[in-house]
C-alpha cells in the first residue's frame, strides 16, 4: 500500500494507535478535496464542519480508552443518492434540489459512522442514476483521475473518481445495471456490488427497485471486505433486504483461491469488445491457472430484459415530474425516461418472468463452478462528450454499451467485485469476479489473492 495514500485499514490502525489523530486525517482529506476537486468534480456537497466535529469525537473516544470501531477516523463519502441528515438528497437532479433536507442518515451511512468512519461529503452521479458516464447536465461531468479528458464511468462516477484520485479511501455507490462496476473499471479501483438484497437500501434514492443494489469502492480488497462486513445486517425497513445473518468476509481473505473452481465466461462475454479487455481477463485467468470456459446462456436477452425493467420502473418513479416539468430533467436522461413511460405492461412482466428462467440456468452453472471471470467494460474510458465509440470495429452508442458485460449479471443479483488492471502508459481496465448469490467472501478471496500477487492494484495516478 502506498504510504502517501494509505488505505482505510491502515488509517484506522494508525488512528487507533494514536500515531495520528482522526482530526488530522480528516482535515488532510478535506484539504485534498478543496485543492483537487475543481479538477475532478467528484463532490456535490462537502461537509467540512460536521466532519471535523465527528473526527474530534473519535479522538476523544480513543483518548478515553473507548473503541470507536473498525473504521476509526476514516474519511468516507457517498453517492448523492444516500440520505445525509440535514442535507438535501439530489440524486444528480435539479428537481430534487427543491426537497427539504433529509431527516436522518441512510442506513448504510449510519452503519459506517457507527464503525467510526467520518462522512466528508456527497458525490456526483448521472441524474437519477440513469447512465454509465457521470456527465451530468446540472452538476457537470466528473473527470477520470487517470486522464482528465475522459469520463469516470457511471452512474457512481464521483464515488469511483474520489477513490482513484486519493481524496478519500472509502465511498459508497449504487449499481442497477453496472453503476458500481463500470466506474470502478474505468477509474482503476476496486468496486463491490454485493448480492441483491444483501445490504439495506433504506434512505437511498432508488432508480429501479427490482435491480437496485448498494455497494462500496476502495483501493484495497481488505478495505472492501471491512466495509462490507460493517454494512451487513438485516433491516426491516427495506423489504428486499435479506434476513440471513451477516457472513464476515475479512477473516476469509487469507484463504485466497485455494479449492475454488474457477472458469472464464465465454460466448457473449468473450466477443463484441476491444481486444484489450479480453487480454485483461486472460491475465487474471492465467494468474489463477484457469482455462475452463463456461457459457452463460441467453446473456444478451438478460441484458435486454434488464433494459426493459429499468426503463419501465425508472419512468414510473418519475412519471409525475415527466408530465409536468420534463424540461427540468437532464437531456441525457429525459427522453429515455419519457420513452419508458410508454412500455407496455406485457413487456415488463415478460422481462420479470425471463429473469426467473435465467436465474435458474445460472444456478445450474454454479453447481459446477464457484467463480466466473468476465470483463467489466467493453473498452477503457471514452472521452467526455464522446457519444459513439468503436468496439471491435463496430460503431456503437457509448452510453448504453458501457454496461454490456455488467447488465446481464446484476440482472439476477450475483455478488461481483470489479478488480483493477493497471497498464503502463494506458488507461486501466476491470475484470469481474462473479460468484453465486451470498458468496461475497469467495469473490473477495480471489480478489485478495490477485492483489497480494500484484496482478491487480489501485494506486493513485501521479
Amino acid at each position: 500500500m502506498n504510504q502517501s495514500y494509505p488505505d482505510a485499514t491502515q488509517i484506522a490502525e494508525t488512528i487507533r494507535g494514536q500515531a495520528v489523530s482522526a482530526r488530522s486525517v480528516v482535515a488532510a482529506s478535506l484539504a485534498r478535496i478543496a485543492e483537487q476537486d475543481q479538477t475532478y468534480n467528484c463532490f456535490t456537497t462537502v461537509l467540512a464542519d460536521s466532519a471535523l466535529t465527528d473526527a474530534d469525537r473519535i479522538d476523544q473516544a480513543i483518548a478515553a480508552g473507548e473503541d470507536p470501531g473498525a473504521l476509526a477516523g476514516v474519511p468516507f463519502a457517498v453517492k448523492d443518492l444516500f440520505d445525509i441528515q440535514g442535507v438535501t438528497t439530489l440524486a444528480g437532479s435539479k428537481i430534487e434540489a427543491e426537497q427539504p433536507p433529509a431527516s436522518k442518515d441512510a442506513v448504510l451511512v449510519t452503519r459506517l459512522k457507527q464503525a467510526g468512519a467520518v462522512l466528508v461529503g456527497a458525490l456526483n452521479m448521472d441524474e437519477y442514476a440513469y447512465g454509465f458516464t457521470t456527465e451530468n447536465a446540472h452538476y457537470g461531468a466528473s473527470h477520470n483521475p487517470h486522464d482528465g479528458s475522459r469520463i469516470t464511468g457511471g452512474s457512481s462516477g464521483g464515488s469511483a473518481a474520489a477513490i482513484a484520485a486519493g481524496l478519500v479511501p472509502i465511498t459508497l455507490g449504487s449499481d442497477t445495471n453496472g453503476s458500481i462496476r463500470v466506474p470502478s473499471a474505468l477509474c482503476g479501483i476496486f468496486g463491490l456490488k454485493p448480492t441483491y438484497g444483501r445490504l439495506s437500501r433504506s434512505g437511498a434514492y432508488l432508480f429501479s427497485s427490482s435491480l437496485d443494489h448498494l455497494g462500496a469502492f476502495a483501493r484495497s480488497t481488505r478495505d472492501i471486505a471491512t466495509v462490507f462486513d460493517v454494512l451487513q445486517g438485516s433491516d426491516p425497513t427495506d423489504p428486499v433486504c435479506t434476513q440471513r445473518p451477516p457472513q464476515l468476509c475479512a477473516p476469509e481473505l487469507h484463504r485466497g483461491s485455494e479449492g475454488l473452481r474457477i472458469a472464464i465466461a465465454g460466448g457473449y462475454f468473450a466477443e463484441g469488445a476491444e481486444p484489450e479487455v479480453f487480454e485483461a481477463v486472460e491475465q487474471v485467468a492465467k494468474a489463477l491457472n484457469v482455462s475452463q470456459k463456461v457459457i452463460i446462456p441467453e446473456a444478451h436477452r438478460a441484458r435486454a430484459a434488464a433494459f426493459v425493467i429499468t426503463s419501465c420502473e425508472g419512468a414510473n418513479l418519475h412519471f409525475a415530474d415527466l408530465k409536468t416539468r420534463p424540461q427540468d430533467f437532464d437531456p441525457a436522461t429525459r427522453d429515455r425516461f419519457l420513452a419508458g413511460c410508454l412500455v407496455p405492461g406485457h413487456w415488463y412482466v415478460q422481462a420479470q418472468r425471463f429473469r426467473s428462467w435465467y436465474r435458474d440456468r445460472v444456478r445450474e452453472i454454479f453447481q459446477h463452478v464457484d467463480i466466473i471471470l468476465a470483463p467489466t467494460t467493453p473498452c477503457s474510458a471514452p472521452l467526455i462528450g464522446q457519444e459513439q465509440m468503436t468496439l471491435n470495429g463496430v460503431n456503437v452508442l457509448t452510453r448504453p454499451n458501457l454496461g454490456m458485460f455488467t447488465q446481464p449479471l446484476s440482472f439476477i443479483g450475483l455478488p461481483i467485485i470489479s478488480v483493477p488492471i493497471q497498464r503502463s502508459g494506458q488507461l486501466p481496465l476491470g475484470v469481474q469476479i462473479i460468484a453465486a448469490p451470498y458468496n461475497e467472501a469467495l469473490v473477495l478471496r480471489v480478489a485478495s489473492e490477485l492483489e497480494t500477487r500484484g496482478i491487480v492494484s489501485a494506486p493513485v495516478p501521479r
Binding site: 438484497g197 423489504p239 428486499v240 441467453e298 444478451h300 436477452r301 435486454a304 430484459a305 433494459f307 426493459v308 426503463s311 412519471f319 415527466l322 408530465k323 420534463p326 424540461q327 437531456p331 429525459r334 427522453d335 429515455r336 419519457l338 420513452a339 419508458g340 413511460c341 410508454l342 412500455v343 406485457h346 413487456w347 412482466v349 415478460q350 422481462a351 420479470q352 418472468r353 425471463f354 429473469r355 426467473s356 428462467w357 436465474r359 448504453p400
Partner: protein
C-alpha cells in the same frame, strides 16, 4: 417490427392515452428511444417461456 412512422404514431397515441404531454422539442428523442426499447424488448418477447415460470416479486402482505 414497425417502421419509424408507425413508432412515432404509437408514441403519440400512448402518450395521449396515459396523459403524458410531449414537447415537440422532446418528441424526436422519445421516438428514437421508444424504437430502441421496442427492438430490445423484441429479444425478450420472442423467447418462449414455460407457463410455470413466474416473476419473483418481493411482496409481504
Amino acid at each position: 417490427m414497425t417502421d419509424h412512422i408507425d413508432s412515432a404514431k404509437c408514441v403519440d397515441h400512448i402518450a395521449a392515452f396515459i396523459g403524458l404531454p410531449l414537447d415537440p422539442e422532446h418528441r424526436p428523442g422519445v421516438v428514437t428511444n421508444f424504437e430502441r426499447i421496442q427492438a430490445i424488448a423484441q429479444l425478450v418477447m420472442e423467447f418462449p417461456l414455460p407457463d410455470t415460470i413466474k416473476a419473483a416479486p418481493v411482496f409481504e402482505p
